[in-house]
Assembly symmetry: C2
Homo-oligomer: 276 residues x 2
């Protein structure tokens, strides 16, 4: 049995979790309440330069864990795919300016195109930006998305598929972001996490919970403990595989965004200690 | 490339697809428009006996393909699991009275209970009703449900998991209902269908489409051609595996239920010929 987290020292929050807060308020509130890490939604620094947003965040004592998100490589024409590659290079540059060591990739999927072809285009797109990532010293993490997003958000829907791309491109700058929300249902998850550990590709770990019923396919995630995901067990697998990074709370929820965000932040901390 | 269906001779419609119609109207309309098969939602014959509903349906020249649905075996206590088993025996009896040769099983999942334990309880439940099914000459088909239903509707989320239960219990009365909506994302689907063919367990084939975006997790399926599922390709795999049964249209859609059902029936026939 995996023990509860000792403290908040490995707690990271994704800014989208507290979407009503701007980056300044998020950084101040997180930092002031003992949260140690932050992941930045690429749109969150809107009116600041990435460098200014990074300085602001660090002033509040927070580690920047990652920039979300690059990806969306599949497209119907070579020209569009090339534009997506350019956009990913810009995203990597922003991560470097921000001071984020990692870019999370939501890889994309073109509706109606065979998923295997979309995965081929994803591998091709990642390959095209890897040298840029290495030069910027920014790591890339393929995030397998739940199969309910296979149609339009990611053709990479299992850790096994993400590993296949990592093994094809094999680079110290390429790994996997494992999110319990997307992967908890997979009966090969423990084995796949072990394989990621062996291959050195476990770059990020995201937590939230699966509510029953789930009323919205995008924005109805639960706070840890509100749902049925065995989060602590999965964290145990991830740590047994050697992961020592942050446990990152990433909750998209209209219900929770509508609540008092200061109280919600306290609830996140309590839920983290009780269920992560 | 799999050719289009020659005609409507293998078209079956699930009554839930045209939910606004009662069983009498559904049977009359389907039969009158050249549809050959019908699957009956267990609630659809409401004010009739199953035998009377069966006679009514056959009067319209329709083959009864299956009764939907049994299942929901996992539960927190032995007593509840025993009640679920009794309920499945009643469902099998109803299928026999109706004249349906098959009961589709939505196997169930207890939120918060490990999925592996729910699958164990599912296998136990199916095992407990198999003799009853054989005596009634009603086949049972485990329907793997999309992973987005793992929390509360079915812990069987891949064809591989359904096959594992079939191989464990091995009975000519137990097989699999393959629904493209639930399984299209699976990169082992072709191989799994081939294995079902070898093992003689491909009992039913359901079609609909996956819309992007999907706005409701339960009731936003698409008509064939409205989404991104390679339906014809999957039908090709299913037929290559030896399946010669009906292609069954099962669409839960509030949007389509709100439309004119007579016109919708014509759309289903056209979509079937164009995309199935």
């Amino acid at each position: 049995m995996t023990p509860a987290p000792h403290d908040l020292s490995r707690l990271c929050i994704h800014t989208a979790t507290t979407k009503p807060w701007g980056i300044e308020e998020a950084a101040r509130r997180y930092g002031g309440s003992g949260v140690k890490g932050i992941t930045v939604w690429r749109t969150a620094y809107a009116d600041r330069t990435p460098a200014a947003a990074g300085a602001l965040i660090r002033d509040h004592g927070l580690s920047i864990v990652s920039l979300c998100r690059g990806g969306f490589f599949p497209a119907g024409s070579a020209e569009e795919r090339s534009r997506a590659i350019d956009e990913n290079r810009r995203c990597i540059d922003e991560a470097a300016e921000l001071g984020a060591p990692l870019v999370v990739l939501v890889c994309g999927s073109l509706p109606g195109q065979p998923l295997s072809e979309s995965r081929r285009q994803i591998a091709e797109g990642v390959a095209a930006v890897l040298a840029h990532a290495a030069a910027a010293r920014v790591r890339l993490a393929i995030e397998p998305l739940h199969p309910m997003y296979a149609g339009d958000r990611s053709a990479v829907n299992t850790v096994g598929q993400a590993r296949a791309i990592c093994n094809q491109l094999r680079s110290p700058w390429l790994g996997i972001a494992l999110d319990v929300y997307h992967t908890w249902w997979d009966d090969s998850l423990e084995e796949e996490i072990r394989a990621c550990g062996r291959e050195g590709t476990l770059f990020a770990f995201h937590i939230s919970d699966w509510r029953t019923p789930t009323v919205d396919i995008l924005e109805d995630r639960g706070l840890m403990g509100e749902g049925c995901i065995p989060i602590r067990q999965i964290r145990g697998w991830v740590e047994a595989a050697g992961f020592r990074g942050f446990n990152e709370v990433e909750i998209f929820s209209r219900r929770l965004w509508a609540s008092d965000q200061a109280r919600y932040l306290e609830d996140i901390k309590a839920a983290y200690l009780a269920h992560a």
